[in-house]
Assembly symmetry: C2
């Protein structure tokens, strides 16, 4: 494989390990997703039978290097906004119990070159708020609600 999972003790490998701890579900709400290592981890979980849902931004999902097409081809459910504003969240929820959120877009540029932060939170109050936001967006971006012909 041209893109092995990261090893050693880097911020990226720690993030990947958190994701790979998922047993039942992974809910992703990501403005931009071009980092191949993170996409590989998500695909691996999907193949293991973890329910993966991904919400992303319509203006960024088609950019060069985006992993969204590849994930869709792999059979992962993806939904996106249809607004001019950005779906600017960058969070993941593992098994409805662990929230991973911060400034980090899931791009190679961000991982390699930027000053970024990622918080890992298991406090139920925070997890609940982000889960509710995820479910709200998931429904709002349901393709059944598209209004291309207003």
């Amino acid at each position: 494989c041209p893109c092995p999972l990261p090893s050693g003790d880097t911020a990226l490998s720690r993030l990947v390990r958190r994701l790979l701890s998922a047993r039942r579900s992974l809910d992703l709400c990501l403005f931009s997703f071009s980092c191949p290592q993170l996409a590989r981890a998500v695909q691996l979980l999907h193949r293991r039978g973890v329910r993966v849902r991904l919400v992303t931004d319509s203006q960024y999902m088609g950019l060069c290097g985006s992993q969204i097409g590849r994930l869709r081809h792999a059979g992962i459910q993806v939904r996106h906004d249809q607004h001019s504003g950005y779906m600017h969240h960058k969070f993941a929820i593992v098994d409805q119990r662990m929230l991973i959120t911060g400034s980090l877009n899931w791009t190679t540029q961000a991982v390699q070159s930027n000053r970024e932060n990622v918080l890992v939170v298991e406090d139920a109050e925070y997890v609940k708020a982000f889960l509710e936001e995820f479910e709200r967006i998931w429904e709002e971006y349901n393709p059944a609600n598209y209004s291309f012909f207003p």
Copy 2:
């Protein structure tokens, strides 16, 4: 004043109220800062004698609508990176005890049009980690360390 502080119970007015609760210090680490209401709140704190320090991204601070120049004119200390990677954090620390962080860039577009999240955290462990990152960046971006002539 052309830009009154926001009133009512909006996400922006709640953010401004958190900021205005500062009595001693406000440490800001912001990728992009163009929202005039937030700039006004920061200026108000500076005038009240609160120690304001601001770290920002060199590639974004000169963009149209940026408030960085205005804040510098008001006498607020600003430092910026000198890298090609982004200083992509978007957090504030009030009185070294309250952390405000998330996906939200302090821009009008983000406030008005995007899906965003802002976490307010008073847990000492998280506040400490972000304070340490702030102090690290503040030192690293000290103009005394500029290396324009390598």
